[in-house]
Each structure stands twice: as structure tokens, then as C-alpha cells.
């Protein structure tokens, strides 16, 4: 082992010296995995995929190290062809961090899924195992291409690869409910991608190229904006919003994310919805920063705020653990869109906050879905009211669930705390106090449902809970490790935050994010974040005590009341197909309007 360490270090240094060529590795590994999976098959497929994922983590780490040490973005042109005819790849600090997060989460999921997707003894191979590991490679390849691609059409193909790999994962167990959820997801995602493609075609028709850097120069250099550009921008944005499932375009997300097998839910919720968000980020901040008018930014921010409040409130009403986590994803996606009004003035702090939110939510949500999977396997159901006694049976898993939850609430030292600190500081700094309010209320609502789940899980059950299926220790440890990643993100050195700004258009306030974060550890700041959460915890305990005294079993977490029922009705209305489709078209029109009027 001692001899291996310098060997690995030397190899890693060689890898970093590859420079731009490094960017090809994260694209090649998944494709190699996809093709070889058909040859390897059978029993060793899971371990083969795990080996590839380890290589992927190494290459992502090498790219991050190369970007950090070189202090500039890595570039590569496929086949040596320069844009506009060729396809360029680029990894700036943002892409490097996303690649690394993807690699970490996928490795965690890969270890976790060894058990659930192994080939049972006595069989040469199973369709379920082959499908899972190939689809996982497909998702991996799609996401990496989204993070590295610099050509709008390449990005379209990457998004489609991602969707086509994600949809069958939802329906892996073949039950009618999950098949319907997968079909719903696929059709809505296709509506989104065809709008995105229409936008890309309009860009090509106007400027004759699809390369992001060239387009950005052409758009910035033009005196008058061609009429096709706002339309194209709105079509692409709304198409991507449909794939990200931003409120009110979330009709596909709850059934798909709650119905998939736990390992698949973790990937879908932690990574897949973030890929389309990443493209929205690229479009608005790299392609056409000048078009992000104040009104357009406020519209996107308002949708994000609505997602936070609505998603958290509906999560409070859920009776099933996986559905609760799915609605919590809906709310957490909302935080990503608060950055638009905060960054519209040209500040880089909000973008950094968005990237941190992607990373911390990816780790925390993957941990939560996998923990919920272990709990459901042990109990045979995932009804929140029946969780009593599970804390005693699976202490490590419940601990991991709670730690991941702390990051979603935004308690220190989690990644969520960094996100909240940055967003709050920016909201106050730019005089937009309403976003500050949304961030704080969202955190408290999250605390309410997480404490409720935890208090159920930690309560004693009438009869001793004997797990139907005891999870492997390594599964529990992986879930705990991912939860700790999210929780300890805040303890990373501040230079890691500066990494996110490498290779981005120079902002006037570079380094402001790390300066704000250096200030976040004073005792009164920590306390001002903590005491409202403690009050919520006390309230939850009081409500639980009252419920236990009452003989009637109330529906959901909160007692059934008129506002709660109205919320349920609103949710089922919004999840109807014609309503969602019409809202999509209205959003396109509204975004075009805001871009034309705001200029």
C-alpha cells in the first residue's frame, strides 16, 4: 500500500498534464460502459460498473485539480475542428465542480445498488440488472456532456440521452402506476426538449452558429436585438424549466420520483433535474447576460419562491415518505431560481450560491432517497405514520436521514447553510427583502416536516420492529457518507468556493462570496439561524403530543383542515395535463414579453 501511493500520485499528475484532452475521459467512460455492459453482462456487471465509476471519480478529480491549479478553464475541440463547424468542450470551475459532484453521487448510488440490482443466485443474468447498469451509464454520459458541451445542438442530444436513460429507470419494476408515471415524464420532457430545439433552430437561423461563445459575441455585439432572439431564449428556457420541474410545471415529478426504485430516485432527484437547470444557467449567464432584464429575472425568481412555499407545504401533507421527499425536491429546486433576481445586477455571489445548492442538495437528496429505500425495505411500506420503532431497528440509516435533512433546512455547518447565508446576504444587499423572507420561511417549513418524520421514526412502536430485510452495513455507510458530504460542505476551505468562479466572465465582485462566507461563523449569526428552527421543533413535538392524545387518526401529517384540502386540490389541478401544458405556453409568452418590455 505504501508503495502504491506515490505511484498513484505520479499517475494523477500525468493525468492532470493532459490538459484539454482530459475532458474527453468523462464522455468516453460512460459510453465504454454502455457498450461493454452488453458483453460483460451477468453477475460481474455491477462490479464492472463500480470500477468505471471509480475511474470516473478520478478523472473528475483530475479535471477539478487541473482547473484549480491552472486557474483557467480547460478547452478542447473535438477532432481539432474549431467552431462554428466543430464542437468545442469547455470545463470552467462550475463544470468541474458539477462533474465531481456527479461522480461522487453516482459512486455512492453504484455501491448502494450492488445489492438491489445483483443477479440472484442460480440465474445467468436478469433484465433488471442489465437495464439498471446500462441506464445508469447513459445518465452518466448525458450529464457529463451537458456539463462540458459548448454547442446548443450537442447539448440537445445530451439532454435527450439523459431523458431516455432516466425514463425507463422510473418504470424498472413494470407496475402500471410506474409505467404511467414514466410515460407522463417522457411526454412532458419531450414537450420541453422540442421547445428547446425550436429555440436552438431560431438561434441558428439568426446567427448561423450554435456555439455558445460565438453566439455570445454576436449577441453582445449587435446594436438592435433581432426579434427571433427573445422568442428563442424564452422557448429554450421554458423547455428546460419543464425538464427541471420548476413549479408550476411539476406535473410529472412526484409520481416519477416517488415510484422509481430507491437507487434510481436518488439519481433522478439528485442529478437529472440539475442538468437542465445547469443549461438554463449557461443560457442566461454565458450566452446572453444582457437579456436578463429585471422583469424577466423577477418572473423566474417568483416561480422559484412559489416552488419553495408550495413544495414545502404540500410535502407537509404527504402520508408516504418517498412522496414527501419528492415534494421536498420540488421545493429545493425553487432555491435554484432565486438566484436570477439576485444575480441580475451582475453579481457573481448568487451564481456561487446556486452552484452550492446544486452540490449540497445532490448529496443530501441522494442520501435521503436511499435511506428511505432502506427503511421501506425493512418495514415493507413507507407510510410515515407507521415509522415507529425504525429508529431502534436501523439507527445508522435514520441518523443519515436526519443529517441530510439538516442540510435541507440550512443549519450550520451544512452546504444548505452556505446557500442560505449567501442568498440572504444578497437579498438584503440588493434591497430585495422579499426573497430573504422566502428563504427563511422555506427553511422553517422544511424543518417542520423533517422533524415530524424524525419524531415518528424515533418513537417507540407498540410491538418490536423486526426488519423484514436487514440492509447491508455498506449500504448504510454509503448513505451516511453522502449525508455527511452535504453536512460538512460548509467546512471546506473558502478557496473551494473561489474555484466556482474560475473561467467565468469576470465579475466586478470576484471573491465576494468567500468574503461573505468567512463572515458566516460568528456566534450571533449561528444563533440567529438556530433559534427559529428550535421553535419549529418545539411546535412539532407539541402537535405530536396532541395527536397522540386524540383517538382519531388524522390524515397526513397535519390534521385535515380546509386550507390543507384546498392545497391538495390546487396540487391535483396543477398536475392535470392540459393545465400544465397551458401554463407552459403562458410562461413562454410572459418571458418574451418581459424581455421586450424590460429593455
Amino acid at each position: 500500500m505504501m508503495a502504491l501511493q506515490p505511484l498513484f500520485a505520479a499517475w494523477f499528475a500525468d493525468l492532470m498534464d493532459l490538459g484539454g484532452l482530459l475532458l474527453v475521459i468523462p464522455l468516453m467512460l460512460p459510453v465504454v460502459g454502455l457498450l461493454l455492459a452488453l458483453i460483460v453482462r451477468g453477475r460481474s456487471l455491477g462490479r464492472f460498473a463500480l470500477a468505471l465509476l471509480l475511474l470516473g471519480l478520478t478523472s473528475a478529480a483530475a479535471i477539478t485539480a487541473a482547473v484549480a491549479t491552472g486557474d483557467q478553464a480547460l478547452h478542447y475541440q473535438l477532432g481539432g475542428w474549431a467552431p462554428p463547424l466543430g464542437v468545442a468542450l469547455k470545463a470552467d470551475g462550475l463544470s468541474a465542480v458539477m462533474l465531481l459532484t456527479t461522480a461522487v453521487v453516482l459512486l455512492g448510488v453504484g455501491i448502494y445498488a450492488q445489492r438491489g440490482f445483483q443477479v440472484p443466485a442460480g440465474l445467468p443474468e436478469t433484465r433488471r440488472s442489465l437495464a439498471f447498469w446500462t441506464l445508469l451509464c447513459g445518465i452518466w454520459g448525458g450529464i457529463n456532456t451537458v456539463f462540458l458541451g459548448q454547442d446548443l445542438f450537442t447539448l440537445f442530444v445530451a439532454l435527450e440521452l439523459l431523458t431516455f436513460s432516466a425514463v425507463p429507470l422510473v418504470a424498472l419494476d413494470g407496475r402500471p402506476e410506474t409505467l404511467a408515471a414514466a410515460l407522463r415524464y417522457l411526454l412532458f420532457a419531450l414537450l420541453g426538449s422540442v421547445l428547446y430545439l425550436l429555440g436552438a433552430v431560431l438561434f441558428y437561423g439568426t446567427y448561423g452558429t450554435l456555439d455558445i461563445a460565438l453566439l455570445a459575441d454576436l449577441i453582445a455585439g449587435a446594436d438592435a436585438l433581432p426579434p427571433a432572439v427573445p422568442v428563442a431564449a424564452a422557448l429554450m428556457t421554458v423547455g428546460l424549466l419543464a425538464k427541471t420541474a420548476l413549479f408550476p410545471l411539476h406535473l410529472w415529478l412526484p409520481p416519477a420520483h416517488a415510484g422509481a426504485p430507491p437507487a434510481a430516485s436518488a439519481v433522478l432527484s439528485a442529478l437529472v433535474v440539475k442538468a437542465s437547470f445547469f443549461l438554463i444557467l449557461r443560457i442566461w449567464f454565458d450566452l446572453m447576460p444582457a437579456l436578463l432584464t429585471l422583469t424577466a429575472a423577477q418572473v423566474l425568481g417568483a416561480l422559484g419562491a412559489a416552488a419553495i412555499l408550495f413544495g414545502n407545504l404540500v410535502a407537509l401533507r404527504q402520508t408516504r415518505l418517498k412522496l414527501l421527499i419528492a415534494y421536498s425536491t420540488l421545493a429545493q429546486i425553487g432555491y435554484l431560481f432565486l438566484i436570477f433576481p439576485l444575480a441580475a445586477g451582475g453579481s457573481s455571489v448568487a451564481i456561487t450560491a446556486g452552484a452550492l445548492q446544486v452540490v449540497s442538495h445532490a448529496c443530501a437528496k441522494a442520501a435521503m432517497f436511499m435511506a428511505a429505500g432502506l427503511i421501506a425495505a425493512a418495514l415493507g411500506h413507507d407510510q410515515i405514520r407507521g415509522l415507529g420503532g425504525i429508529g431502534r431497528a436501523l439507527p445508522l440509516t435514520v441518523l443519515a436521514f436526519g443529517l441530510a435533512g439538516l442540510s435541507l433546512i440550512g443549519l450550520p455547518p451544512s452546504g444548505g447553510y452556505l446557500v442560505k447565508t449567501l442568498l440572504s446576504a444578497e437579498a438584503i444587499g440588493t434591497g430585495q427583502w422579499w426573497w430573504y423572507l422566502v428563504v427563511q420561511v422555506g427553511g422553517l417549513l422544511t424543518a417542520a416536516y423533517l422533524f415530524f418524520v424524525l419524531s415518528q421514526a424515533l418513537s417507540a412502536s407498540p410491538q418490536p420492529t423486526i426488519p423484514r430485510e436487514h440492509p447491508r452495513l455498506v449500504q448504510q455507510l454509503v448513505v451516511l457518507a453522502l449525508a455527511l458530504c452535504a453536512l460538512l460542505l460548509g467546512l471546506l476551505p473558502l478557496s473551494a468556493v473561489d474555484l466556482l468562479e474560475i473561467g467565468r466572465p469576470a465579475a466586478a465582485d470576484s471573491g465576494a462570496a468567500s468574503a461573505l462566507l468567512a463572515d458566516a461563523w460568528s456566534l450571533d449569526k449561528l444563533w440567529s439561524g438556530l433559534w427559529p428552527v428550535l421553535i419549529v421543533a418545539a411546535l412539532v413535538i407539541a402537535v405530536r403530543y396532541r395527536q397522540q392524545r386524540k383517538p382519531v387518526e388524522p390524515e397526513g401529517i397535519k390534521p385535515t383542515a380546509a386550507p390543507g384540502r384546498a392545497l391538495d386540490q390546487l396540487d391535483s389541478l396543477l398536475r392535470q395535463w392540459p393545465v400544465g401544458g397551458l401554463l407552459l405556453l403562458v410562461l413562454v409568452a410572459a418571458l418574451v414579453q418581459t424581455m421586450l418590455v424590460g429593455r
Binding site: 442530444v157 441558428y204 437561423g205
Partner: protein
């Protein structure tokens, strides 16, 4: 009316029809067909742009008529749309086999837990 305008309007009409079908038709098969209609509209628009010329060759200053690049993109787009249709139809066939359903309306988001009996 020039050919470019005429085909451009055709593309717009196809996209509009497809959007109507995808949003308003309850049947999943009709939705899949409507998606293909929108796709055809987008590809036709790409053809119109190619016919109009410009693009990469104009940037390079060769002055050639027409632009070949959209053809390459349309072919890729067709393959993607074909794959999408194949997956959607497969899912629909499986759905119809397992539950005798062909629409997406009215499905509840709460599939019961996969295994075992529920606790009271």
C-alpha cells in the same frame, strides 16, 4: 409569396397543431403523434433556414447558395425523435397490457409501497 415564406408558415402551422394535440388530446397515442408533428415542424423550419442560406458558409465568405449544416443536424434530430417515439410507444404498449389504460389522465401519484402488507 416566396417558397421560403410558404414553408416557414407550414412549419409554424405544424408546430401549432402539434402543440394543440400534445396539450389537449387525452389519449397517449395521440400525444405521441402530436409530438412527432411538432418535431416535423421544427425540422421543416430547419430546412427553410438551410434553403435561405447564410450560416457557416456565409460566415466563411464562400458565397455559396444554401447551407448544408442544418441537414446534418436534422438527421440527428430525426434519429432522436425516432428513439423518443420508440420508447414512448413501448411504454404505452406495456401500460395497455398491464392495466388496459391508454390515457394519462386521472392517475394518482401514490403507487402503493412495492412489497408486503400495510400496517393498520
Amino acid at each position: 409569396m416566396s417558397g421560403t415564406t410558404l414553408f416557414g408558415l407550414c412549419a409554424a402551422a405544424l408546430v401549432g397543431l402539434g402543440l394543440y394535440g400534445l396539450i389537449c388530446q387525452p389519449g397517449a397515442l395521440r400525444k405521441i403523434l402530436a409530438f412527432n408533428l411538432i418535431g416535423s415542424g421544427v425540422f421543416l423550419l430547419f430546412g427553410v433556414i438551410a434553403q435561405r442560406g447564410g450560416g457557416v458558409l456565409a460566415l466563411a465568405g464562400t458565397g455559396a447558395d444554401g447551407d448544408p449544416v442544418p441537414q446534418a443536424l436534422v438527421i440527428t434530430g430525426l434519429v432522436v425523435a425516432f428513439a423518443a417515439t420508440a420508447i414512448a410507444v413501448t411504454l404505452l404498449v406495456r401500460l395497455a397490457e398491464t392495466s388496459a389504460r391508454g390515457t394519462l389522465e386521472g392517475d394518482e401519484p401514490a403507487p402503493p409501497a412495492p412489497a408486503g402488507e400495510r400496517r393498520p
